[in-house]
Symmetry: C2
Subunit: 248 residues, 2 copies
């Protein structure tokens, strides 16, 4: 069943008019008929089944709430150095499928590409659309936030969050304990910084060290800058979701 | 340090002439000089450091063996339905970084694309080159094999391997135990079948069930056909590599 996000609160039993973009996809593209069902998520992170009750205008009735928790038990923020080409689009789509809460892109000292400040809003709008599409397709109940910061030192920090840097030199040195130790403490929030293709610079690494980030290796293979966040998110799922459930 | 695969056995202390493609990259692209070091992997899964001893012809001496084990403790075969566009390229690159041993592509009943038998060798040659590049970049000691089979039922099976199907309906139903149970038995080989975008067909699912494959969910989110193998490989790394090491 197709899932759509609508920007309004939803209540069980209510009838609502579908936003034009949703109506177009559900009725025109998929040829939905009165009586057909679709899934809606409103402004709260809860999915509902809704039944089509009218075609013009496109109306649905919210008929039941869906159980199941598709969100990771840890709110993960992925902080990525900006790279070349369509890497940001790609990371946004895949990280959304794998459960990321927030994606932050920064102009890295050793980055192979930079976003000019005045072009960032257009880039972010495109990434937000990709995140919305991926969130619906992967049956999530929130759309990750996408944020741009001009440099790593502008990263907003919150008390109580766990903080990691995915550090290639740690991976090369065989360091594998920090990630597990961090996840086993079951943090509610985890922020992980990834360097660009050129690597994280000494000044950026000094900034993270001064702000309580630990350097973590992500297994013994050297992962590309766009692959490492996917490993991290999968690891959070395995340890905090699959194994958390097995122990519960 | 850059890593290169050469198709010959290597022995500590020996001097060898670099193959033309390696010589071109190491000497022309990277401007290597006599005395500079590079990493070589020969026909055995062992990486060495070699020192450039001559430029024309390009010769190196194998100066020391590298410790560290970049290969997953489980030999993972990923079996993927063929999809549209460059998905096979993409899966090959990312799965190689994440440690896959073998990739098998099959024409799936509900696939959105098919490979004609006579075009498969050209496709495989391209994927093999991508795998070789990704294996070198991720500092692996083997290059994954890439195989094409015309249909899932042609998949070669081996005694003793663990067998899973990544099944979307299991994910939707909240099944999360099978993957963990399988990995905790520490199999030496794991074969996992992934459907194409259109999903795995009832006949294909019946074939896997008849051949000892278990249906496994990969967490509560619905992953795209090209994302699910990356989750599986990351899970193998976390459970069998990071956690295996923590318990060792």
């Amino acid at each position: 069943m197709n899932r759509y996000f609508v920007q309004q609160p939803l209540t069980l039993g209510e009838t609502l008019t579908l936003p034009p973009s949703v109506a177009k996809h559900a009725l025109t593209v998929l040829r939905g008929q009165v009586g057909d069902e679709l899934e809606l998520v409103g402004t709260a992170p809860q999915a509902y089944v809704a039944t089509i009750t009218g075609l013009d205008p496109a109306t649905v009735q919210v008929t039941r709430a869906l159980s199941g928790q598709p969100e990771l038990p840890v709110a993960v923020t992925i902080v990525c150095g900006i790279g070349k080409g369509d890497k940001a689009e790609w990371i946004t789509q895949k990280a959304t499928e794998l459960g990321v809460s927030q994606l932050v892109f920064y102009n890295a000292t050793w980055g192979t590409a930079r976003w000019a400040k005045d072009r960032a809003p257009k880039k972010l709008a495109r990434l937000a659309a990709i995140a919305a599409g991926a969130a619906a397709q992967s049956h999530r109940t929130i759309i990750p936030q996408i944020v741009f910061i001009p440099e790593l030192a502008a990263l907003p920090l919150h008390d109580g969050e766990a903080r990691l840097v995915a550090y290639e030199e740690s991976a090369k040195a065989g360091e594998t304990a920090v990630l597990l130790q961090t996840l086993q403490q079951a943090p509610r929030e985890l922020v992980t910084v990834f360097g660009p293709e050129g690597g994280i610079s000494p000044a950026e690494l000094a900034w993270t060290a001064a702000h309580g980030f630990s350097n973590a290796g992500l297994g013994p293979r050297i992962l590309r800058t766009e692959t490492a966040p996917l490993y991290l998110l999968s690891a959070v799922s395995v340890v905090c979701e699959l194994q958390g459930e097995a122990h519960a």
